[in-house]
Amino acid sequence: MSGLRILVPVKRVIDYAVKPRVNRAQTSVETANVKHSMNPFDELSIEEAVRLREKKTTPVEEIVAFSAGPPKAQDILRTAMAMGADRGIHVVVEEKDSLEPLGVAKLLRKVVDEQKSNLVILGKQSIDDDAAQTGQMLAGLLNWPQATQASKVTIEDQTVTVVREVDGGVETLKAKLPMIITTDLRLNEPRYASLPNIMKAKKKKLDKKTLGDYGLDSEIRLKTVKVTEPPTRQAGVKVDDVDGMISKLKELGAL
């Protein structure tokens, strides 16, 4: 019986609590001097990988954190390692060449082969592009089973049971390793990295690579025509009591 070799891709995104602003040229969202952090769903992926190791139902041989992004993405790889990943791989991709989900999936396929991973845990979506595609694309390229929007993962021997969030409730799926899982918010509560662990993470191995090392380039299929602010809503009225609310709603045709 072989153990789990888990790959956890993480993405550096604008912090979830920051309200993004569209730049003047309407070409993108302003990212300079804006607080960035690990995509919240990716924190859940790391946490789940570490919990699988702690549960010991199937031995975890290794947890590798991976990111493709600008030089600063190494900060979130250090965070991942402080949370419990054993080492990191950073494919340095400048912001102007940033990859689309299909490009990331193609890159991850190569990394999975190279690292001999048998379980990839990804976030269900990144909170910047909101695409929700990479995990499924990777599963397709590898022809592996997939369980998206996982809220509970159990692994016994080589069998993975996943409870996933679907419209109207949950469903349970079962498959054999190797497998792709994407995480939903309900899956776990990510731990905070302690100071000693942050110090230890600085000594963990972090490999720097380029797209060229994997024989890929940043081919872009979707051209951004423009990025605009969403229409703003007109400020409404405050009413004094319930009667006021009912009559205002009637006036607006909502009742």
């Binding site: 609590a17 909101d130 499924q136 409730g169 605009t228 009413v239 607006l252």
Partner: protein
């Protein structure tokens, strides 16, 4: 140096190739495959949004259904206005919407039909399946579109709806998921599409479906309800949520939603969550109580026609988007509102 020159030559050659391809795509008429959802032999009406989106592209629309009783589902779907043809595959293997066998099934039928666009709803089904299909076809999917500008140009929200991005696709086949609230379902009567059996590659499915646990409710479906009442952390407990929200929902004939805080605290089921990572709703009336209005929640409801909010904090961000705001204790105001609405 030489390597760099070579890459750039390659790149420009490829760019040119892509341009000619996209011209060619413009020249031929759009032909759309709308992938519909069905469950236990019944069509999911909300999934017909893919047809509405298809009509905005011009050209022909073919619908696709699969599962046991595929033919009768196809006949039901064929009555929807706007479709020329429905392709069905009758095989119980597709009943659970598993991506592992659905993806090869769609790829076969897409290749056979030579469609320029493949559309489906941005639902749990569409989100799970379409990226896998896109990868198999080597296409960069476009998720959760809210508008169609042209045959190759689409509009979609990013950053939890805090920015709106317009993208132009250079792929020859466009794989797209559509936001249901942006494309209301067409009339489900009066159409007369022909029904035809599709190709079934009978791909093996390595994933086994074990069980499901769906919240049962007689109330309207959250995603498509015309009225939604929604509760947040301010409701304090599950008991209070269950005591206050269902009667208000019943008085209005509304669906019930919840904020992430309410779901995380166990007041409401996860499937009721409205927001960036939950459901997107755009009802005629969104009435919320005890919800502060975090970015992630607003992402899921700010396209509602009329927003009404009850909150005891006059500075809560929800009041910046609410058409009607009432500052007050929801434990007094919600029961009073429920009583007065019943009259």
């Amino acid at each position: 140096m030489f390597a760099a020159a070579r890459t750039s030559v390659l790149r420009s050659a490829r760019a040119q190739l892509r341009q000619t391809q996209s011209h060619a795509a413009c020249a031929r008429l759009a032909s759309t495959l709308a992938v519909l959802e069905a469950k236990e032999g019944k069509l999911n009406i909300a999934s017909l949004a893919a047809i509405t989106a298809g009509t905005k592209l011009g050209g022909s629309i073919t619908a696709f259904v699969a599962g046991s009783g595929g033919k009768s589902i196809a006949e039901e779907a064929g009555k929807a206005k706007g479709i020329e043809k429905v392709i069905y595959v009758d095989n119980a293997a597709y009943d659970r919407g598993l991506a592992e066998n659905w993806a090869p099934l769609l790829v076969e039928n897409i290749k056979k039909g030579g469609y320029t666009h493949v559309l489906t709803g941005h639902s749990a089904f569409g989100k799970n399946l379409m990226p896998r299909v896109a990868a198999l076809l080597d296409v960069q999917q476009i998720s959760d579109i809210t508008a169609i500008e042209s045959e190759d140009t689409f509009v979609r929200p990013i950053y939890a709806g805090n920015a709106i991005m317009t993208v132009q696709s250079s792929d020859t086949t466009k794989i797209i998921t559509v936001r249901g609230t942006a494309f209301p379902a067409p009339e489900t009567e009066g159409g007369s599409a022909t029904v035809e059996e599709g190709t079934d590659p009978k791909a093996e499915c390595p994933t086994e479906w074990i069980s499901e646990d769906l919240a049962k409710s007689d109330r309207p479906d959250l995603g498509s309800a015309s009225k939604v009442v929604s509760g947040g952390r301010g409701l304090k407990s599950k008991d209070d949520f269950d005591k206050l929200m269902p009667p208000l929902a019943d008085a209005l004939g509304a669906a019930i939603g919840a904020s992430r805080a309410a779901v995380d605290s166990g007041f409401a089921d996860n499937s009721l969550q409205v927001g960036q990572t939950g459901k997107n709703v755009a009802p005629q009336l969104y009435l919320c109580a005890g919800i502060s209005g975090a970015i992630q929640h607003l992402a899921g409801m700010k396209d509602s026609k009329v927003i009404a909010a009850i909150n005891k904090d006059p500075d809560a961000p929800i009041f910046q988007v609410a058409d009607v705001g009432l500052v007050g204790d929801l434990f007094d105001k919600v029961p009073e509102l429920t009583e007065k609405l019943k009259q």
